[in-house]
Amino acid sequence: MAIAVETRTAPTEVAVTSGMTGMQKMARVMWGPMLLMGFMMVAIAFIIGIVNSGTAADYFAADKATREAATAGSSLVDNRVTIEGIRAWLPGFKFLGMGLILSGITFLVATILGTLRHLGYRVQTALGRDVMIPTPPGEARVFPMLMMMGLMVLIGTFIVAIVVSQQAGEYWNHSIATELDPALAGSALLSQLGTINAEAAWLAPLKFLGLATILTGIAFALAAIVKVLRAQADMVVGFISND
């Protein structure tokens, strides 16, 4: 199968990014900040988890009857509101951090692809030939889209998780014994409880879908490396065929 090429005249100066596509130039700059931001988010989630564990310890220091009888505005109910609110949004925040780390890895693979293109450019320049850079394989066009889609899913789930945490806060800001437990069918409180639990049921798999989409993007980026390596070997053979 013939490999499509675009011909460029060899320049006198060779920049570090010569031969790279626009996406690869951006990836070369962005992989570090993405990895750092992602790791910071996961670390922040861990710190918030520790703080929330202190609130949970305070809350469960009171006996069950006291906790359930506590009314809105009391420190016990406030603690419960904090615990349930954080429990609703923190997983989404962690997954977004993981998504950013995986996006950083995707950008790193894109940087490797760019470096391979640059390598081909340098070799042809050194041999004094017209620079012929293969057109990127289909996988190279697909993986940035998969990465962006996955990241958008994770951002979306995080936004929904913030809304759910608001609802959880409102729901738990009531006395368990006198308001939440006796709530009647069709009441606003029961409807809120149903919404919170139903959203949790679909939100958890959706977060995994975001991560899975980014990981599939990484698989396609690696597949593009295989094709680029093949194209380079083909091109090198072309050197002796043309001579």
Binding site: D181, A198, A204, P205, L211, A212, I218, A223, I240
Partner: protein
């Protein structure tokens, strides 16, 4: 001439791991998509279950709809959570297979370079 043709064929070698890895990654993604769809269906059952007041849920008798819903929610969650990981693992195995393909491609590339570079150096 025959050697030249063999060299071109060697340079255009595509490892089977490339196709297999991509297929595994896509299969894993589809498994996770299926988990999301089941999650949405379960969310409807969860919403219905919590429409019942707490005393009704707690006092649900064997064979009642409320208890059946509770059982469905618990049973589905029990296999749905591991299935998410099956999907993710399939994608990761796909990534591993493609990395294997990269290793094989690099090996072939080394062989091609070993044949081409001496010819380039000698100007033949």
């Amino acid at each position: 001439m025959a050697t030249q043709r063999n060299l071109v064929q060697e340079a255009r070698f595509t490892p089977w791991q490339l196709t297999a890895g991509k297929r595994l990654a896509l299969a894993g993604l589809m498994v996770v998509m299926a988990v999301v769809i089941v999650g949405i269906v379960v969310a409807g059952i969860v919403a219905g279950y919590y429409e019942n007041p707490k005393d009704v849920r707690d006092a649900a008798a064997a064979g009642s709809d409320v208890l059946a819903n509770q059982g469905t929610i618990a049973a589905v969650q029990a296999w749905l959570a591991p299935l998410k990981f099956v999907g993710l693992s399939t994608i990761l195995v796909g990534i591993g297979v493609i990395l294997w393909g990269i290793a094989r491609t690099l090996a072939v590339r080394a062989s091609v370079f070993a044949q081409v570079i001496p010819k380039l150096a000698s100007g033949k």
